[in-house]
Amino acid sequence: MYRDYILDHYKNPRNSGELPGATHTYHDSNPLCGDELTMQLRISDGHVDDVRFSGKGCAISQASASILTEEVKGKSLDEVKRIDREHVLANLGIPISPARIKCALLGLKALKGAAWGLTAWPGEEVKAK
């Protein structure tokens, strides 16, 4: 599961940090692992002008997010909305065990949240106290 490719993205994340002038931002987390992830997009003319992510967590979640940012740059918003789980898992190029699927897909979830302009994931509104 920990091929050099993954470890490289984990240790040297691409497009990491704060995005100045971001038009779309979404934060998500996986409380089970303590993974945290924020995706930011700057959209102009319906296309991804720039993208950044920031977060902390396991190698799988951070590498998966890093790989995703490389892919979406320049894509249209519609194309971004169409990226699916299978595609992201295939991108990682390694078998992901069931317990780690959520880690692998956290970046995609945050990306979709940003692309659709969500403020909370449907059905996951905070239902506290």
Partner: protein, 418 residues
Amino acid sequence: MAVTVRAPASTLDVARIRADFPVLAQTVRGKPLVYLDNAATSQKPRQVIEAMSRVFEEHNANIHRGVYEFSERTTAAFEEARSKVARLVNAPSEREVIFVRNATEGVNLVAYAWGRDNLKRGDRIVTTVLEHHSDFVPWQQLAAEVGAEIAVVDIDGEGRLRRDQMSAELRKGAKLLALTHTSNGLGTVNPVREIAAEAHAAGATVVIDAAQAVPHTPVDVQDLQADFLVFSGHKMLAPPGSGVVWGRAALLEKMRPFLYGGDMISRVSVAMTEWNELPWKFEAGTSSYVDAIGLGAAVDYLWAVGIEKIHEHELALVGYLLPRLSEIPGVTVYGPRTLDDRVGVVSFNIEGIHPHDVATIFDREGVCVRAGHHCNQPLMTRLGVPATTRASFYLYNTTEECDALTRAVHAAKKVFGV
């Protein structure tokens, strides 16, 4: 009381089925076991017993939280059991299937987590005299707590629900209908779909106790238009400890949780807590995951045999037993005298012999039946008897066992000289 009924033919290969149930090869006091207490609990096929042992022997680990293969395999088996249950009752989504201990806990879950927030002083709960204590006492106590009223719909002389009275009660307005799908005391099957429609029209939420239905007849929560439906695995070939609440996602999402603790949370801080998604929001602590996996194996077994066929088989047995039992002098049979809308439950009394004495004498003949109030005291009061003797069938019972029962009735009469 003479009864004649046209018995349908059974298409089950009962000999083959019996070979799957190790307990049925046992003897009691030297006589073959005749197990006719299936409404209390069913026996288990080796497929279920082995599915459970296999978890312990091959990959046991706690579910949901383990990042290692055994935990993943056990989690997969547990969630697969949930999918099977969802398909069994045609739930729109697995997210709506919550594992609990038994039907009783299921009704309590709804009473605590939905009832306390949705019923208030003056609201009306409509229920029936056929309810098992488990679908009656939680509502009685909740009504007392919040100040709601309870209307209890009566039955007619054959143990069928008074439909006119039910409609009248619902027309007066109701916030909740608590209705048993099938009576464990008499075997009556209620017209749930029709009544649920009337209840919805009256603005009521509909809770169905399907503890005696899911094991014996096809049940489709969407077709019935239920809002909540509960049942117990142990009455359908699965181990005790495997019960189910099905509920509409839209309701479950709005509800507060019932039990609080591990696994049902998403995030906990000293100040506040966020809940997990459905269905886990309602499954606090370590689930009875091996029991649930046993239920999954039981569903597989029932499917392979065919639930519709099981129902026909049981009706065939009722059709065989009912005339033979009814013609014995001194025997009174309670409940429906025909095979329409009923399951394989036959409740009766022998004049001059208390049901407990009947059951004790039956036991000496190897015949296991239930004697008592069957957790149906309001129904017993309505029938004007302290208790009844009840025989209840399942897929492995035979007409020879019906004969053993009638022989046992004669034996009891002989002992008591009646």
